[in-house]
Symmetry: C2
Subunit: 179 residues, 2 copies
């Protein structure tokens, strides 16, 4: 890959941030499909691909129901699409590794969202209300585990990587031994 393209990929890997406010411009179906495709190509243990997706869009009464099931309801309510990320229980093989796979899948989708000029946020808090969410979505808890909801849309504010609450620990703090 040409050097300039490598830099663009790193811009996406290092520059993606949570976006929580969206315009009322709809998210196109083509973009939505590309985002899900990115999730589909994530790696998983034994390539079991335990993830499943459910997309909720404006006009679907379940958006408001879900907004009522998280303290981030204002984000869910204003999103132009919600990607509900699930694990398919019969496909799971290892509690920890399947959760890791879900994380890789979600990250691929967040990177795709950012690359497309859209914005999104990984809502994890909502899984504390897993039972109610699954019920609202008419999904049997014998078949599904709720992993996260990705709320997305066109960013309300021009995007800029911020050095605020989304800061990261310096690499040296993360290295158990110096390189």
């Amino acid at each position: 890959m040409a050097a300039e393209h490598v830099e663009k990929v790193f811009d996406v890997l290092l520059g993606r941030r949570s976006v929580r406010k969206f315009t009322d411009q709809p998210v196109g179906m083509d973009d939505l499909r590309r985002i899900l495709e990115a999730g589909r190509w994530a790696p998983s243990g034994l390539n079991n691909q335990p993830w499943r997706f459910l997309v909720v869009r404006p006009g679907d009464a379940r958006q408001e129901t879900m907004a009522g099931l998280t303290k981030y309801g204002h984000i869910v309510r204003n999103a132009q699409a919600l990607v509900v990320v699930l694990l398919h229980k019969p496909t799971m093989y290892h509690e920890g590794k399947d959760h890791q796979a879900a994380g890789a899948c979600i990250q691929n989708m967040l990177l795709a969202i950012h690359a497309l000029g859209l914005g999104g946020v990984w809502i994890g808090e909502i899984i504390n209300q897993e039972k109610d969410v699954l019920e609202a979505l008419h999904l049997g808890s014998e078949n599904f585990r709720l992993m996260a909801v990705i709320a997305l849309g066109h960013p309300l504010h021009p995007f800029e990587a911020r050095a605020d609450g989304s800061a990261r620990r310096p690499l040296e703090e993360l290295l158990v031994e110096a390189l």
Copy 2:
């Protein structure tokens, strides 16, 4: 981002595959640092950044020790770098979400490896021998959880996305409801 750059990012998101055979060309320190930087910028619940890294390179006796602790020893032995990905127990706040964060972090590193023209593979099987691995690395199990080992290097064979064992389910199978 210009359309051609968006396409390159998607090439990376959709085109990354596991690479298990490496040349004996070393992985440069600059590349290694960029890969870890990509991991550092992954998202995590409450931005707790529970991940920690330990890098093992050729010449370090622990590479052979670790090779003996997984059935993928031949891959570990021939890698030009191993990134041991850990969770820092005192930083963890939620079993499932911290595992998801580790997955997002690993995926960012795998994408960085691929973007740089290197190849890598996520070895999850080795965590079945977590206790022995932590011991070999002189890491206290009161402080660390083993998440995975990423083995990487320059690909022995020219890279091509394959339609073999790394195939994926069609998107329609992953959608709980049609789009």
